[in-house]
Symmetry: C2
């Protein structure tokens, strides 16, 4: 198995990317890690070259670049070259911690959409209170979605949960403003009816965003605008609550300060949980395209590589190609 | 000033409603509190009848009732009677902790929409880390909104923030999937352009839901579907984080347990903050219609009554009627 890696993408590239590869290649011994980027810089952090190929590239996409234009204007960038490797069949999947927009555009234009998938989507596995986690999509690849898009997201998410996360008959739910089937925008109500009629999906109905962290569903489907807003609300609230706790303890009585010092390690582990989701998969394409967080550490890159490995190993993209080809739309 | 109160609506009615009136009437001495409901039950909790009128009603709306049908089928319910009092000019505003759907329907059908307001919206003042708070709308009165609806929400929210909360030139922001003006659904992009061209609104551009709790804006505008999802995500995340902290402390080492006991009072005050927003105002109607949370305690009812008092006192609804009448749409 070959995984193409954009070694120059992300806030701490290539250091954290290469260090993540150092960690992952100890476990994933059947993988060839193709590192696209500046050879000299990559070698500085690489422990050894076993199962590693370094492919020299001369350009780097930064966050000021127009994400659509770079596909043509920066053809020798580490990101575009890594995605191109998948297109050419030289790699089975691609990982980048670089520009989300550029990766989505490159994925769509080079790896290409699965036939009959109306829209690809961005999906992450988010943590739940019971530790089981859930997959949520679309997190912002789209800004407007029809009922048919939502139905396709449900299929993409269910295949991922079953094949990559090993969940039998994953429970699929649809974000709405109430649990009753009468609730929702016209697109959500129509998607509800379509999903209810499908036998291949374990559709459990509508879910409110209040309940997703409780583990009430394995796959949570939303339009890209709403999904993006929900994800960022969860992030902002977690970060806000931790800041409040910190300042409450800091400005509190001596008793509170001592208590704060004693619970601090436990609270720190909670904060880790919030960021442990790994990469965001761009699903609905013919091969796995995964985005790691821009500020990923080495362990997060390794975690994203484990995820990519599972996606290739389970052939989830191939199974989705078959599913959609055999559908009578 | 006369405030009509649905004494029978809510999980702990009439007890908490009447106890809230007991608290509020000590401060708001120029208000007549009209309590609609079961006279005997109301009198059980009422401290004294000064500035209070009790209006006997025979029906109560419960959460199984169809919210649209009850306006006609339960005309003698405490909720419908209280809203009708505003319609007839017997009261200046109405407060209920009962069914949101029934209150929205009764407000729309009886109090009526301000002329030229395309859609009314549900708005709450939510807490920020700096204690200043922000107003967010629409929280779910609508499930789909056009650019014009969003523009009207911005005007409604800005008038409220300025007149009721006393904020000069409130900063108004639009929820989108990125801060840049190029981001958003077609409706959001169009609303962005319309708001940018308006001189009477201090429009500061797009905001991501991640940043709203930081106090980056005084008024946050979203379509009802997204606003509802954001509000419920914040609620669910807050409640989830507190549950996690509780179980981490409970299952932690002795050191963590002792620390937990010491910080518990400080953490409890944080939790209060999460629920201190008061009532949700149904804005865009000709008079104030406010919904208190179903499980409100006496202090929350008193807080909602202070809010209703300020809305009537500042004549925010009258000012909005004038604003929209004088607009050239």
């Amino acid at each position: 198995m070959k995984i193409a890696i954009d070694a120059m993408g992300g806030d701490f590239a290539p250091e954290n990317i290469v260090k993540g590869v150092n960690l992952a290649k100890k476990e994933l011994t059947n993988v060839t890690f193709q590192l696209y980027g500046d050879k000299a810089q990559i070698e500085e952090y690489l422990e050894d070259e076993q199962n590693v190929e370094i492919i020299e590239t001369t350009e780097v996409i930064d966050f000021h670049d127009d994400p659509v234009a770079v596909i043509k204007s920066k053809k020798d960038s580490s990101l575009v070259r890594a995605v191109t490797a998948v297109k050419k069949g030289e790699a089975d999947a691609v990982l980048s911690a670089g520009s989300t927009g550029a990766l989505l555009t490159a994925g769509l234009m080079l790896v290409k959409r699965i036939k009959q998938v109306s829209r690809p989507a961005l999906m992450s596995t988010l943590p739940t209170l019971d530790g089981r986690g859930f997959d949520m999509l679309d997190l912002g690849a789209n800004t407007e979605n029809t009922a048919q898009h939502l139905v396709d997201f449900a299929i993409l998410g269910a295949y991922y949960a079953e094949n990559v996360r090993g969940i039998t008959q994953p429970r699929v739910a649809l974000i709405s403003n109430g649990a009753e089937e009468s609730k929702g925008s016209p697109a959500v109500k129509e998607a509800h009816a379509l999903l209810s009629a499908m036998t291949e999906i374990n559709f459990i109905g509508n879910i409110e965003s209040r309940d997703i962290l409780e583990g009430s569903a394995d796959v949570v489907v939303a339009d890209g605008f709403t999904g993006n807003a929900i994800l960022k609300s969860i992030e902002g609230t977690m970060s806000g609550v931790f800041k409040l706790i910190k300042s409450t303890i800091k400005n509190g009585s001596l008793k509170t300060k001592i208590g704060g010092a004693l619970v601090a390690p436990a609270l720190a582990s909670l904060k880790d949980l919030a960021g442990s989701g790994g990469g965001a998969a761009f699903v609905g394409l013919k091969a796995p395209v995964v985005k790691a967080h821009g500020n990923s550490g080495a362990e997060e890159i390794a975690q994203a590589l484990r995820q990519v490995h599972k996606m290739v190993d389970s052939d989830v993209s191939g199974k989705l190609v078959n599913h959609f080809e055999n559908m009578n739309k």
